[in-house]
Symmetry: C2
Subunit: 253 residues, 2 copies
């Protein structure tokens, strides 16, 4: 809900300015072309100067061109909101107006803590689910240890969490490999790792904005798995520290 | 140390490939120019076709051009390592070779937890420092309450942490406003906010790589302040929850 609302806001702020920018670019490009043609005409016979003119034309073009990226339609805006809230920030779509930038700041201040809370909640739910599964399975295999196992609810071993995390990345990478035909499996893996670590360099990004929205669900599930992994590691580390302290106390006494 | 080591690695992996890419681009551009000139010569008299040729030339140029960004020299590599470790990921410099990408993944897996630990340690040190300052000041003003104040060590009020955080952003934005002459104060503020929230869109980035290294220190200090702010809020929230539970217990009894 919050992200939909944000998407509408950003779309509204950025849309108009982009349209104007595109119009301006077209106008300028037209002007540049005519200018170059008239220059060429004047120098019809001195072909040595052609090169010079082309160089000048190129340098003008570079100044003019907008950075390529997504357009600010509704899908783009939704994608932008997603990149901000998860703090990934690919940067293939970014606000150009001051209004959009100010809105980003305000939006992020309220949105990021919200998303972090939701993710950790997802992570906890996931941990409970997996540990319940595990308990049920263990119960099947050995009915005797039933009562002892009960104390172990709400935590899963690190290797399982790590395995789920890596498995998720591999599966998602495989899916993207199928969807984006020009990606190799390694590129896909690299993309997912950069996303899940919330680095978000933005050098490798899927092409279609519709797919990006779908991708976000995969990334959000992935992020909650990572959050689960971190919390599991933290718990184990604290346990380990606790045992270490007890052992030290024992050795001192 | 770890970041320096990483910078050297990345520089070594990416440097050669970039040089080759630049050479290739130059070659292709030369070819493109000659091609265009010969086409122009052939059509010397039919000036209507000039426009068409230019259009073709433009489309070829777009395909060819590398994305602009930092070069992979030592400074660039150091900057890249910084963007990865802090999970900001501006994306104005990114690996192009598979080797570089694989190295990024491995490097990030070990580096990010390390940096997070360091940042939280910085945040704790900062909290201790600020609370000590406050205690010293309070002691000066009122010597009577000395003993009561002692219990309050290791925590500072939220408003102070918030004030320090906002103050830091404003000061840094002001500094960058002076350094980067073509930035407005708002742009500078926007850039700092996007960096400190680790979103890192990369649409606004300082030009000089030397300045980027200096900037990183400011960002790292800012990140530890943010980490302090979060921990302070967390402590207050837990305290509040604890008081709430006690009050509920009292009302039930």
């Amino acid at each position: 809900m919050y992200s939909l609302l944000g998407a509408v806001f950003f779309w509204w702020v950025e849309r108009e300015y982009e349209q104007e920018l595109i119009k301006q670019e077209k106008l300028f490009l037209d002007h540049l072309r005519n200018d170059t043609i008239s220059r060429l005409k004047r120098l019809l016979l001195k072909s040595i100067f052609y090169r010079k003119i082309l160089l000048w034309y190129e340098s003008q073009l570079i100044k003019l061109k907008m950075t390529k990226g997504l357009e600010w339609d509704m899908w783009g805006a939704l994608f932008y909101v997603g990149t901000i809230l998860t703090t990934i920030g690919y940067g293939n779509i970014a606000p150009r107006t001051s209004g959009g930038r100010a809105l980003s700041i305000v939006y992020a201040i309220f949105g990021i803590p919200l998303v972090l809370a939701i993710l950790s909640e997802f992570g906890r739910m996931f941990t409970t689910f997996v540990s319940n599964q595990r308990i049920a399975e263990t119960r099947k295999r050995q009915k005797l240890w039933d009562k002892r196992r009960r104390n172990y609810v709400r935590t899963i071993p690190i290797w399982l969490a790590l395995f789920i995390c890596i498995g998720w990345i591999c599966i998602c990478a495989g899916l993207f490999c199928l969807w984006e035909t020009h990606w190799s499996y390694f590129t896909s893996l690299y993309f997912f790792f950069i996303s899940l670590s919330t680095i978000g360099l933005g050098d490798v990004v899927p092409d279609h904005p519709h797919m990006l929205i779908l991708m976000f669900w995969l990334v959000i599930i992935g992020l909650s798995i990572v959050s689960m992994l971190i919390s599991v590691i933290q718990i184990k580390f604290e346990e380990w520290l606790y045992h270490l302290m007890i052992r030290m106390q024992v050795s001192f006494l």
